[in-house]
């Protein structure tokens, strides 16, 4: 299958000289078209930095990201990002529909009316039919994040980068949103990269889990999740194979926690 995204030897430091903090230290992996890849790692390992680099929002010091064979020099059409901080990444002065339509701002083929129609379809797809004319601040956290996902899909992306999108929603909503994301990824043919600190979520959702080391960060493991395409909140999570993979991922991350000096854990 065709490679959608490839990271080659990505490196990034913050600061210079003796006080420089090396965050990414040669990260390489690739994502094929249609894959759902989770990225997990110990806290503070630079997951968000990595995602920003993959999105073209952050220039790496060394190495390169290529999207569909072309090296990224900045944000690219075809890549949409869903941020963790939905309340600030949605615009309070725009209705939910206007927020979603705003995702099509670079779209020149659709007319205004067509964009609004598509916006309504996308809101329906994320289960918010009746909320087009409401404002984001009138919705719960999970619903706001669904608006943000609809906006991401609106930009006609092929690659959806998800930066801990469910970190701020409650546990029950979270399970529903995981299934919704999987369903949307299939329906809209999105290749997805999910950054998360939740190991269960990472394994449940992904075809592959990329486990990162602690800072300076490299790829520690690249684990194939052979649990089939159909996932179920109850049966998948009870599957011995799920537990096995979860064990491996957790063990890898815990290993780094043990190595981390106590002072840094806090």
């Amino acid at each position: 299958m065709e490679t959608m995204l490839e990271a080659r030897e990505l490196a990034k430091s913050y600061g210079t000289g003796a006080g420089a903090l090396k965050i990414l230290d040669g990260i390489s992996f690739s994502v094929k078209k249609g894959e759902f890849v989770s990225i997990v790692g110990p806290s503070g390992c630079g997951k968000t930095t990595l995602l920003m680099a993959l999105a073209g929002l952050l220039k790496p010091d060394a190495g390169a990201v290529s999207f569909k064979g072309k090296v990224l020099t900045g944000p690219s059409a075809g890549i949409a990002v869903v941020f963790q901080d939905y309340s600030r990444s949605l615009f309070a002065w725009k209705s939910n529909l206007e927020n979603v339509v705003f995702g099509m701002i670079r779209n020149t083929t659709l007319s205004k009316a067509e964009k609004r129609a598509k916006g309504r379809e996308l809101l329906a797809a994320v289960g918010l039919d009746g909320f087009a004319d409401h404002y984001p601040w009138q919705l719960s956290g999970g619903m706001q994040q669904r608006v943000a996902i609809a906006r991401g899909l609106a930009s006609e992306s092929e690659l959806l980068l998800l930066d801990e999108p469910l970190a701020a929603v409650d546990a029950q909503t979270r399970a529903d949103m995981q299934d919704l994301l999987l369903e949307l990824a299939e329906r809209f043919q999105q290749t997805c990269i999910l950054v998360t600190h939740d190991v269960d979520e990472a394994v449940y959702m992904a075809d592959r889990v990329v486990v990162l080391t602690r800072r300076p960060t490299r790829v520690d493991h690249d684990i194939v999740v052979d649990l089939g395409d159909r996932r179920d909140q109850i049966t998948t999570r009870e599957d011995p194979r799920f537990l096995e993979i979860r064990h491996d991922v957790m063990a890898a991350i815990r290993r780094f926690r043990a190595e981390t000096p106590l002072a840094e854990k806090a």
Partner: protein, 255 residues
């Protein structure tokens, strides 16, 4: 519910009424035209109001024009400086310096270029209104949340689009505060500039009245300025309610 409304009405009204009453008593005891009471002021209003309204018209139209010029120039400038960080940093000290300069102090300089007519006054009013508008807009635009900027970049917005679709609306609540300050500055300086560059307007009227020891006439003029201020403020408030509903609701929601 009705009772509560009655109560809050009296809470708002008793202090002004008490002040007026005390003032009237003191004025009656002083018994001199140099210390008129509310009643004498009311008489002066009934006698002078056509003249006052006419003069106030001059003042308000200059204040309005000066304010509009300031708003049209300073809001876009503030947004621009907030987006072009380097330019903002270069100009910030100059803005801070101008901000501390009292508008009456620039009157002689403006006179050199614009004389003493309407143009001079409008320039001074615009200058006074410009400071709070520019500072508030710049500060708000400079501090737009990084998340909003990431979204702008992820959607490949141009700088102009980001300013129009994100910076400006995000800055509106602080711009509104700037507008309130600018409106009161504009009114204040409109009256002051008339007193310094006497031609016409309510400032001239008040000054003439007081110079002729018609204190009650002066007070009548002041009453009209206050009234105009109140009306303008409530108009501004209506606009805020219309355009900033999302901001006020946002503050009340659980987020």
């Amino acid at each position: 519910m009705k009772r509560l409304a009655d109560k809050s009405f009296w809470n708002a009204v008793w202090l002004p009424v008490a002040i007026l009453a005390v003032w009237q008593v003191l004025a009656m005891r002083a018994h001199t035209p140099l210390f008129p009471g509310p009643w004498q002021t009311l008489l002066a209003i009934s006698k002078l109001y056509p003249q006052i309204v006419g003069q106030l018209g001059f003042t308000l139209s200059r204040a309005g024009i000066g304010f509009l010029i300031a708003a049209v120039l300073m809001v876009p400038l503030g947004i621009l400086l907030g987006r072009l960080k380097l330019l903002g940093k270069v100009l910030e000290p100059a803005i801070d310096m101008l901000a501390t300069l009292p508008p009456p102090a620039v009157v002689p300089i403006v006179m050199l270029f614009a004389g003493t007519g309407d143009a001079a006054k409008i320039v001074i009013i615009a200058y006074a209104a410009a400071v709070p508008l520019l500072m508030n807009t710049y500060e708000a635009s400079r501090t737009v949340h990084p998340s909003a900027n990431l979204v702008a970049r992820a959607l490949h917005l141009t700088k102009l689009e980001a300013m129009l679709h994100i910076d400006l609306p995000a800055a509106l609540p602080m711009i509104a505060t700037g507008v309130r300050l600018a409106v009161s500055s504009a009114l204040l300086v409109a009256v002051t500039s008339e007193m310094l560059l006497a031609t016409n307007g309510i400032g001239v009227f008040i000054q003439r009245q007081q110079e002729n020891f018609q204190i009650s006439g002066g007070l009548a003029g002041i009453a009209f300025i206050s009234l105009a201020g109140l009306i303008i403020n409530s108009i501004v408030f209506q606009f805020e309610k219309r355009w900033l509903f999302w901001h006020y609701r946002n503050a009340n929601s659980k987020g």
